[in-house]
Assembly symmetry: C2
Homo-oligomer: 235 residues x 2
């Protein structure tokens, strides 16, 4: 091993770099979270300006991922971390990949706002809002668990992945029914289906992040299958 | 740096390990490709048995990802690679993450086969088949580019990402029209929409892999925005 690793001032600088890395990932998480929140608000209130603003924010998330990845590759090359330090780097690499996808999905929700109008049934709107709240809460909790290093909190989210699927399945059924009853609902209904699907996928990324946090904190994988209800629609 | 890196027999073993890693990723790519091919065949021929078989194959892809990740983390810790060797490791880590998602998406297509029946218009079936062929060709070419280290071939796929979007947008319009004209098409139509969306996303993963291959071979990022046609539906 590189013996300069043991020089105290270098060790201190390295631990600071790792702390900064974790802070950078958390900041990217905060931005991705804000995109999900605002995309949902834009969708349920049909706010086109907010939707445009969310779409623009995605470039920032992408740039953060690229910057963090570069930083990690530099750390791996120069510091050659092992054990826990290596886990910090690998976990950051995986989490930013998930967050980049979360940003994409929020952008995708925002892009659909202009296809909706005020005529969709209020009940559907409320169902999307409810599902959105569950997904946002999952994402927020795993990012908190990451920042604070609480594996148990991450596992709690991981075990509740089913809640999101249940919301999604109910919404799928309601949307298909609404589309059957009213032909003018078919196109907006298809977009609402994709919004619901995007929310479900954001939930999946929160679950992935929970697995990474568990690995980061404990060094162990969460390999058991997640509890799953029936998923006829989800697939 | 760890001076044992320079001992010839260790260097040889390390380069062999990296070659094996690349071969493992290529094998995982072959399995993911077979899932996409068979899921599409199952969907367009309504073959439930083949669909079930594809769904079962996903666990194998997931296991391959876990095994390869473990191998990479061990390589990073024990070999502390730099420069090109580090890029081989990071690229493998990123590609297996994409391939794992490709497997999930193929499984998702397979899961929807039972919701379809023989009554959907042949034209829609053919459109799904055509889109599937384009996506499969992109995936195959980037995996070939990875195995052979041909950056230019990867870039060629990256530049043709638009083809997939065009297929998707056309299919979206045709499906919405079919659902409007025939109420009994609404539920299978919704599932076909998701199948098309899943194909589009498999295409996105092929594009991601193209970017990784470019980085692996050249050390440079493909940062320019991809050429994009209008994407009203895609989002």
């Amino acid at each position: 091993m590189n013996t300069t690793h043991n020089a105290p001032h270098i060790v201190k600088a390295f631990s600071e770099e790792l702390e900064q890395l974790t802070a950078d990932v958390a900041a990217m998480g905060g931005l991705a979270e804000s995109m999900v929140r605002d995309a949902l608000h834009a969708a349920t209130s049909r706010d086109g300006d907010l939707a445009d603003e969310v779409r623009q924010r995605d470039a920032q998330v992408d740039q953060m991922q690229r910057d963090i990845e570069k930083k990690i590759i530099r750390l791996l090359a120069l510091r050659q971390p092992i054990a826990q330090d290596l886990r910090v780097c690998i976990s950051a690499l995986k989490i930013v990949a998930d967050l980049e996808r979360v940003g994409d999905l929020a952008k995708s929700i925002a892009r659909r706002v202009h296809t909706l109008n005020a005529s969709e049934p209020t009940a559907l709107n409320s169902a999307v809002e409810r599902m959105g709240r569950v997904v946002q809460s999952h994402l927020h909790q795993v990012l908190d668990a990451y920042a604070t290093g609480e594996a148990s909190r991450a596992v709690a989210v991981w075990e509740r992945d089913d809640d999101v699927d249940e919301h999604y399945n109910a919404l799928f059924r309601d949307l298909v029914t609404a589309m059957r009853e009213d032909g003018s609902m078919i196109e907006p209904g298809a977009h609402l289906l994709f919004i619901a699907k995007n929310l479900e996928r954001i939930g999946d990324h929160a679950t992935n992040i929970a697995e990474v946090v568990h690995y980061l904190v404990t060094g162990q994988e969460l390999t058991a299958d997640r509890p799953r209800g029936p998923r006829p629609e989800t697939s």
